[in-house]
């Protein structure tokens, strides 16, 4: 697959791999669309009971590769935003556990995707933050959905000051859940264990945890176009 995204399946666990190490796994629109398709497949297949997301190479994900994106109108902005926001919605509404293994940098999209995960295992070297402010932007999921997900003050500092979190700080903020020497191994072990819980109970739990996601992401869809056009 030349989209630099692949899904490996072993037993009940699907592993969604960002595979663009030369660009530190910066995600393009095409990669995010491919990830959304992969999440839909994981949703549709009864044999898949947990989803792990990880990255190849030295970093988990360095953000979105916007490649000289210039947005002139609100409609163009909305069209661009649909891809990341649809992916975030698909992940949060997946009725199965979502687990992320983080090593190295998790920036921008790489940090925001942690907000919709049920388990985030980070290496001791992890650096987590949002660089949107450097481009005159704000991280759309962090300042909407993220405010109910992690410590609010941390979310604001990350979004508006560009604060970077260490692995330990991310755990304190609620953005990560354990600092481990091998994040992939910890994520896979968790996925295999959680895959054993009743799919019926898990679906009910996940449905409830996802309450309000459409309203929150709707906020992002409402205010982001103006920011993107005026920057």
């Amino acid at each position: 697959m030349d989209t630099h995204v692949r899904m490996d399946i072993s037993g009940p666990v699907a592993e969604l791999v960002l595979d663009r190490p030369r660009k530190r796994n910066a995600v393009t629109s095409a990669m995010m669309a491919a990830m959304t398709d992969a999440v839909a497949e994981a949703d549709a297949r009864d044999d898949i009971r947990a989803l792990v997301i990880r990255g190849e190479g030295p970093d988990f994900c360095a953000g979105e590769d916007v490649g000289g994106l210039r947005v002139r109108t609100a409609d163009e902005a909305r069209a661009y935003l649909d891809t990341p926001l649809n992916l975030m919605r698909a992940l949060e509404t997946l009725p199965k556990p979502v687990i992320v293994a983080v090593h190295g940098h998790a920036l921008g999209f790489g940090a925001e995707v942690l907000l919709v995960a049920d388990g985030v295992f980070v290496g001791p070297d992890a650096v987590i933050g949002c660089a949107e402010i450097d481009h005159g932007l704000v991280p759309p999921v962090l300042i909407t959905r993220g405010l109910g997900t992690i410590r609010r003050r941390r979310a604001v500092a990350m979004a508006l000051l560009g604060e970077r979190l260490s692995a330990d700080d991310a755990v304190r903020a609620g953005l990560a859940h354990a600092v481990v020497p091998d994040p992939r191994e910890a994520a896979m072990a968790a996925a295999r264990e959680w895959a054993r819980w009743s799919p019926h109970g898990m679906a009910a739990l996940k449905r409830w945890l996802a309450l309000g996601v459409d309203a929150d992401l709707g906020q992002a869809r409402a205010f982001m176009p103006e920011i993107m056009v005026s920057r």
Binding site: P97, L115, G148, W194, W197, S198, G201, W208, L209
Partner: protein, 222 residues
């Protein structure tokens, strides 16, 4: 099942079913409800060696209408938030599932450093309704999600303190004294009732959702 002792104007309500680690069955639920209606300026809920290891799934199977028991338990949580009096948890040992939720719904919690907090419901095919409905406000969705989906991640008392569930750590011998002292301090604040009403606004919605969400799952208890 429930013992109540007085420490000045503070009622100390002790869950006393040590053989079952204070797992909540209907009798304990009704005892707790009645104890929280006793006349006092403040309440401390505690449990001896273990605070509370959750609801008693075996007892629930024996109940004619498990959904009704869940509704009764919701009314205990509602009572804890509806009363104008402070309610403080004093936690040692296990506070799992409904025990976690009991500590969460209190106005404040004191714990020992090696107390153990967790949400194992999903390992039985259930979910922790109050932790999801109320805990997201208190602890954030990020951690609630992890505890509830994993079913196997325990917080120590120290972690619960760092992450905002517990406001004070105490040694085992001083635990109840510390909780009584905190409860009396809260009760001495003339604005406590008004502050509590503001802070617990919107809770009814969470509890109604709780009963509606869990009832259909009880038939599939594993």
């Amino acid at each position: 099942m429930i013992r109540t002792t007085r420490h000045g104007q503070v009622a100390v309500v002790t869950l006393d079913r040590p053989g079952k680690r204070n797992a909540i069955d209907p009798a304990l639920c009704y005892g707790l409800r009645d104890a929280l209606c006793a006349d006092a300026d403040a309440y401390v809920i505690t449990g001896g060696e273990n605070f509370c290891a959750g609801f008693d799934a075996h007892a629930l199977r024996a109940v004619d209408e498990p959904a009704r028991f869940m509704t009764e338990m919701q009314s205990v949580f509602e009572r804890m938030e509806a009363t104008d009096r402070p309610v403080v948890a004093a936690v040692d040992g296990y506070a799992l599932g409904m025990g976690f939720e009991l500590a969460l719904v209190c106005d404040a919690a004191v714990a020992t450093a090696d107390a153990t907090f967790g949400l194992p419901e999903i390992t039985h095919g259930l979910l922790p309704p109050v932790a999801v409905g109320r805990g997201i406000d208190v602890l954030g969705r990020g951690w609630i999600r992890h505890l509830a989906v994993s079913g196997r991640r325990w917080w120590s008392g120290t972690e619960a303190y760092d992450l905002g569930l517990v406001v004070e750590l105490a040694g085992r011998e001083d635990l109840v004294t510390a909780a009584v002292s905190l409860a009396a301090d809260l009760a001495a604040n003339p604005n406590f009732a008004a502050g509590k009403r503001i802070l617990t606004g919107g809770a009814e919605y969470a509890y109604r959702m709780s009963a509606e969400t869990v009832a259909p799952l009880l038939g599939t208890l594993v």
